[in-house]
């Protein structure tokens, strides 16, 4: 049985792992380490949380996901005036 990859190597591969771009042999090594390493399990979980929380912060929570503020009237007028001049 080969040695486990290091925590630092696992962290390097996280983005490719969660996007499904990690080749199968590397994926096997990644998951073998993950199975026995609680700190890396926590790192992966909080890395995923970071992506989810940034989306929620920028796009709004479930209660506002479909709502977008209408464009302000003065900006509509400015755009139409600029078009008339262009």
């Amino acid at each position: 049985m080969s040695e486990y990859i290091k925590c630092s190597e696992l962290v390097d591969f996280i983005a490719d792992y969660i996007s499904g771009e990690l080749p199968v042999p590397s994926r096997v090594e990644f998951e073998r380490h993950l199975d026995v390493c609680p700190p890396c399990q926590t790192y992966l979980k909080t890395y995923r949380d970071t992506i989810a929380m940034s989306r929620q912060a920028e796009l709004g929570g479930p209660e506002v996901a479909s709502a977008v503020d209408p464009i302000p009237e003065e900006l509509v007028k400015a755009i139409l005036a600029a078009r008339a001049k262009s």
Binding site: K6, C7, P39, T42, M53, D69, P70, A82
Partner: protein, 208 residues
């Protein structure tokens, strides 16, 4: 004579969009106004996420619409009209960012995880508190996360917004930023790691 466009989402419907585009190409003033009212809100939200200033975001949206009106003949219909406009306002926002003043930035290196010589974490990561346990309202949590995103160096914040929020793919992000695909991938991973470090200071707790 073209039928008037009415109702929500008429810029998206296949036949209605076709009619709207015909009218835009013919220079119909009311068609331009319809497009601005239907798509302007979403475009302004995109610009706000990228430029972070209300005035700059409004200017980016105005520039995007003027650019779209001028190049409507080049719209091929391969992508949805809203997708085409999304690309244009992203581009206009990035141009504003490039022209803007640089703010002082922390080095990304300071925000990346540290490892011992044997590859173990220097500070083993602690689990984060669930939102119900943190005592923070959802809006407060979102405000904190947005403030942390704003602390990322600009080159990293931009890639995080384009890839994780606006959901552009690596190829398109690389093209818009004039960098390689590998640079986009590296910056995205580093941006997420740095943001994770910043958020850990706010949300890491002792709960299992």
């Amino acid at each position: 004579m073209a039928k008037p466009i009415t109702g929500k989402g008429s810029a998206e419907g296949v036949s209605a969009a076709g009619t709207l585009i015909d009218r835009l190409r013919a220079g119909d003033e009311r068609a331009f106004e319809t497009l601005v009212r239907e798509e302007g809100g979403r475009m302004l939200a995109v610009a706000r996420r990228l430029v972070r200033s209300e005035d700059e975001a409004a200017d980016a949206v105005q520039e995007a619409f003027i650019s779209a009106f001028k190049s409507i003949d080049r719209y091929t219909g391969d992508a949805k009209l809203s997708t085409w406009l999304h690309r244009i306002v992203v581009n206009a926002s990035l141009m504003r960012l490039r022209a803007g003043k640089r703010r002082p930035e922390r080095s990304i290196e300071d925000m990346l995880p540290a490892f011992q010589k044997d590859g173990h974490h220097v500070d083993p990561p602690a689990p984060w508190q669930a939102s119900a346990e943190s005592g923070l309202m959802e809006k407060e949590r979102r405000d904190i996360v947005r403030a942390r995103i704003d602390q990322l160096p600009e080159a990293y914040r931009t890639v995080l917004i384009l890839r994780d929020i606006e959901e552009l793919d690596t190829d398109e992000t690389a093209r818009l930023l004039s960098v390689s695909n590998n640079a986009v991938k590296t910056r995205l991973h580093r941006a997420r790691q740095a943001l994770r470090t910043l958020l850990a200071a706010d949300f890491a707790g002792n709960t299992p």
